[in-house]
């Protein structure tokens, strides 16, 4: 239970600056997910919090203590690694108890804490096995167990699920969430998977190229992306983004197609502004198969290029102004390529970004 604060944290590898002075405040018991494409500096940031990488400039404090110079063992944190890093020459029991033994805890305490952690994670049956004798999911659980036995101030997770198959990943994701609810502790979690970020986080930190692009709750980040990068990174399938121009009360695309300017953004744009029009596939559905006619919406007639049946919905690939875009058909019927569908576009949910700055027009 503790807060973590990053102030203007910079990281250089040799002469290359990989993290550019980021600021971040993580509250007590908060579950914060750092998300971004590979090479965005999220793992480096986590490793700096852990003390496994030196901080080139700036300040990191845990519970108001500056930890810049403290080695990992003095930061009272624990970390789950992508490859688990279980000690192969020790049994599960020894793996779990290792940190406590190093800290010279009495035997009874070690025993009690280890069995407590084993209970929480359902490892009691596996205590005498070595890591080699465990499945991927079990290893993952041991790694988490090793993190919780020490009752640390914060948990750090570095892409803990990326070595698991898809089904197990979903299952472990839920377990991590439950674990956080059971042992209320500050969590910093790194992933490149935006679904993990959305499902787990209290707050998401979207990073790119060593900068923080946006910090917010999953809802905020999803509904109000600050820029085109966040808009395309969060949400699957990604938001459709089309270059356009503001003319009077309309958004005009490159091929001359016109849509009304979304009402909630009308006073945020100026005449002649080059913009990027963003709409999520979920907010662009064939008539009668999704969006009801409430709020501001408009109709676009588009030809189907490809339809992907997903079960409860069908993903429809079409194009507008020469660019491929996607819509969703809920409660689907059979659709064949070439068919022209009337899409209802929910303008209430549309986004506009300035073409030059890539920033959302609704941000300052």
């Amino acid at each position: 239970m503790s807060s973590i604060n990053l102030k203007k944290v910079v990281k250089f590898y040799g002469k290359t600056e990989v993290v550019h002075g980021i600021d971040l405040d993580i509250d007590h018991n908060e579950f914060v997910v750092l998300v971004g494409p590979s090479g965005c500096g999220k793992s480096t940031t986590l490793r700096m919090i852990a003390g496994l990488e030196e901080i080139s400039d700036g300040e990191i404090s845990i519970d108001d203590t500056i930890v810049n110079e403290l080695p990992p063992r003095k930061r009272n944190i624990s970390m789950v690694f992508q490859n688990y890093a279980l000690y192969p020459h020790m049994s599960v029991r020894e793996n779990l108890g290792f940190g406590l033994k190093i800290a010279k805890q009495p035997e009874a305490v070690v025993k009690q804490r280890v069995s407590e952690a084993a209970d929480i994670l359902g490892l009691s049956e596996l205590m005498d096995r070595t890591p080699a004798e465990l499945s991927g999911g079990q290893r993952q659980r041991v790694a988490m167990g090793r993190a919780i036995v020490r009752h640390p101030q914060a948990f750090l997770f570095d892409e803990p699920l990326s070595n698991l198959d898809a089904k197990l990943r979903v299952q472990m994701r839920t377990e991590i969430k439950k674990l956080h609810q059971k042992v209320a502790t500050t969590v910093v979690y790194v992933t490149h998977d935006q679904v993990e970020a959305m499902t787990l986080a209290d707050r998401i930190v979207v990073m790119k190229d060593g900068y923080i692009e946006q910090v917010g709750t999953p809802m905020q980040v999803f509904n109000h992306p600050k820029n085109t990068f966040v808009a395309s990174f969060i949400g699957s399938p990604p938001m459709n983004q089309l270059p356009a121009r503001i003319e009077g009360q309309t958004v005009v695309f490159d091929d001359g197609t016109k849509l009304p300017v979304p009402g909630h953004l009308a006073d945020k744009v100026r005449e002649g502004q080059q913009v990027i029009f963003g709409i999520r596939p979920d907010d662009m559905t064939p008539e009668g198969h999704g969006i009801q006619e409430t709020g501001q919406s408009t109709i676009l007639e588009l030809k189907v290029d490809l339809a992907e049946l997903l079960g409860t919905e069908t993903l429809i690939y079409t194009s507008l102004a020469g660019q491929e875009i996607q819509g969703k058909m809920f409660d689907p019927r059979d659709v064949s390529p070439g068919e022209v569908l009337k899409f209802r576009v929910s303008l209430d949910k549309a986004h506009l970004f300035d073409a030059a700055t890539q920033q959302s027009v609704s941000v300052g």
Binding site: N83, Y87, I102
Partner: protein, 285 residues
């Protein structure tokens, strides 16, 4: 049926061929071992006596100075010298190899690649090519005919090899092991001793055994750097059995047997270690 017969014949032929080949390889060794336990008369008999009639431990008693007949060769000192030199040089080479191998596997530092290449290249130079310069320097430093002088040479021969081997073993251990241990509360040093060292143990042991065998069996250099019982090792001492007119084959073989046995035992150990390799379950991929 026909095919089974054919494959059986093929297999049998293969076994016979293997047996013959191994016989050719093993006979000299076997002859040495047999001769170690036979009197000189039987060894020199013509035609050769293949199946020993008269097994005896006299040869060993002789060279170690027991029994009636004694040989004026200080085998015990040679044995002690060999042990001291081989064990000391191995211990030093393994210690340096461990620190060096760990550094090469884990740290980034200036000139790392060239240094490593340099070490490997030094392996390519045959030790004997350096014997003259070493001899001259050692004579200036007063290291000729000292155990210390020979130990230094053996350490120099072994270090590149131990570094290379141990580096490979440490490289196989993901660095997250060490990091995880550090997060778990270890100092870097503790993380090394409690996690990385035990995992690389078999590699370190192999390096040690190899280094020991090199030192134990080396002849060319030590034959020039040693003079007396102060530093002569077993392989050099073996030559003491050849005098101007006679060769004491029985004593020589007995001594050769003493040299072979530790080497043989250790070779089996190495084999076991190398085959066992490292089984990693803690890390996937």
């Amino acid at each position: 049926m026909n095919r089974r017969l054919k494959s059986r014949i093929g297999k049998t032929a293969l076994w016979i061929a293997t047996f013959l080949l191994m016989l050719v390889i093993c006979i000299p060794g076997l002859w040495v071992v047999l001769s170690a336990f036979r009197p000189n008369s039987e060894i020199l008999a013509k035609p050769a006596i293949w199946i020993p009639r008269d097994l005896t431990l006299d040869n060993f008693a002789q060279i170690f100075g027991f029994g009636q007949e004694q040989v004026a060769i200080p085998v015990l000192s040679y044995f002690t010298n060999s042990m001291v030199i081989a064990l000391t040089s191995t211990a030093i080479a393994v210690l340096i190899g461990m620190s060096g191998g760990y550094a090469f596997a884990r740290f980034r530092f200036l000139g790392k690649n060239s240094l490593f290449l340099g070490l490997m290249l030094s392996r390519a130079v045959p030790g004997i090519a350096l014997s003259l310069p070493v001899f001259m320097i050692w004579s200036k430093l007063g290291l000729i005919d000292t155990k210390m002088g020979i130990i230094i040479v053996y350490v120099a021969i072994n270090v590149p090899f131990t570094i290379w081997l141990i580096d490979g073993f440490f490289r196989q251990i993901p660095k997250e092991m060490n990091e995880s241990a550090q997060v778990d509360g270890c100092t870097r040093w503790q993380a090394f001793w409690k996690i990385e060292f035990p995992l690389a143990r078999s590699g370190i042991a192999s390096a040690g055994v190899f280094a020991f065998l090199t030192s134990w069996n080396e002849y060319a250099l030590v034959s020039q750097l040693s003079r007396s019982t102060d530093s002569k090792t077993l392989p050099v001492g073996l030559m003491d059995f050849t005098s101007q007119f006679t060769i004491n084959w029985a004593g020589m073989c007995a001594m050769a047997f003493i040299i072979i046995v530790p080497a043989l035992i250790l070779t089996f150990l190495v084999q076991k270690h190398l085959i066992a390799g490292l089984t990693f379950g803690g890390v996937k991929g």
